[in-house]
Assembly symmetry: C2
Homo-oligomer: 191 residues x 2
Amino acid sequence: MDTTPTTCRKPRTDAARNRARILDTALRHFTERGAGTSLEAVAKEAGVGPATLYRHFPTREALLAAALETPAGELLAEREELRAVGDPDEGLRRWLLALERYLSTFTGLPAPVLAALNCDDSPLAMSCQELIGITDEFLATAQQGGTARPAVHGRDLFLAALLLAWTGGAPVDDDALPTLRRLMETGYSTR
Amino acid sequence: MDTTPTTCRKPRTDAARNRARILDTALRHFTERGAGTSLEAVAKEAGVGPATLYRHFPTREALLAAALETPAGELLAEREELRAVGDPDEGLRRWLLALERYLSTFTGLPAPVLAALNCDDSPLAMSCQELIGITDEFLATAQQGGTARPAVHGRDLFLAALLLAWTGGAPVDDDALPTLRRLMETGYSTR
DNA sequence: ACCTGAACACCGTTCAAGT
DNA sequence: ACCTGAACACCGTTCAAGT
């Protein structure tokens, strides 16, 4: 896990500072202008050359994954809370809501997440697999409790959350979305 | 409907030829490289300057809408066929499949369609409203037949088809998609 | 009325040169 | 080892000049 280079000398401090600055600026730009925002503008505002940004984050997805670390931590914290929920159906439902909210952290995030879903080398893919695994856990509990259909997989529900996040990014501003959400919920529920 | 300019003289023939060439090239590029393909490349291969392309199709969406005319015609033809289907549930289901296929005409088409869904001035929006209306008709028949829940709207099912087309564009290559489809179908069905 | 090609502004990415 | 700024290739969009 420790990717520290061979020798550690003075220059590492400004490298770390640059990395932090890039990450800070990127988080703000992603939040304000979406996941597709100009990386050149991020570098400029962070006060570094474009090549420096590329050195630290070789792809846009790497930068996205790094910027998502804090929200991901919050999501995992919420997962811990939800493990204590007694009703398995409520636990699953609230987990799916939290998942949808996480996938809505940046406008335009669902598209690269979908692309990463079948591309194992993407930095976003790892996080996807982890989240699908957690969804499987909540789902299994609900299935044991008899409130979720046996044939459904965690991956399906992850995809459903991703779809809702996608439409939320360009909001369908009438009753379509709630109904669609109900369409999906009644799809996995046995109630 | 006839948008012919005030006076018609000789130059109109080469304008029409240019328009046809642009449209022909665009259809091929959209099909091969997706809805986000370079318009500059389209203009170049069509043998016109970029400004000529913009004169005929002021926005990318205008060009998309024009390129979709033939597939849209086929979809409307299929609608006519499906009106003759006796079982209302089968009619609705086959219409939704046809809709999903139409929305998958070009890779990356679902994104601009979603954007157009709430933006009345887009050339794609008009076609959306029409398709939602048709979906409402099939849905109403199924609801009268008792095979679809009363609270569902045509817009919901249009959105569901759009979502399936979106994920199909970057295929989720295992069982997730069929199950998600079933999630949605069981969402509207009363069976 | 229509077309053309140049021009402008922007972006992603890479590379030689510095420290 | 790391950073820098220039450079390259590309794209969308607009505009003055032609016919």
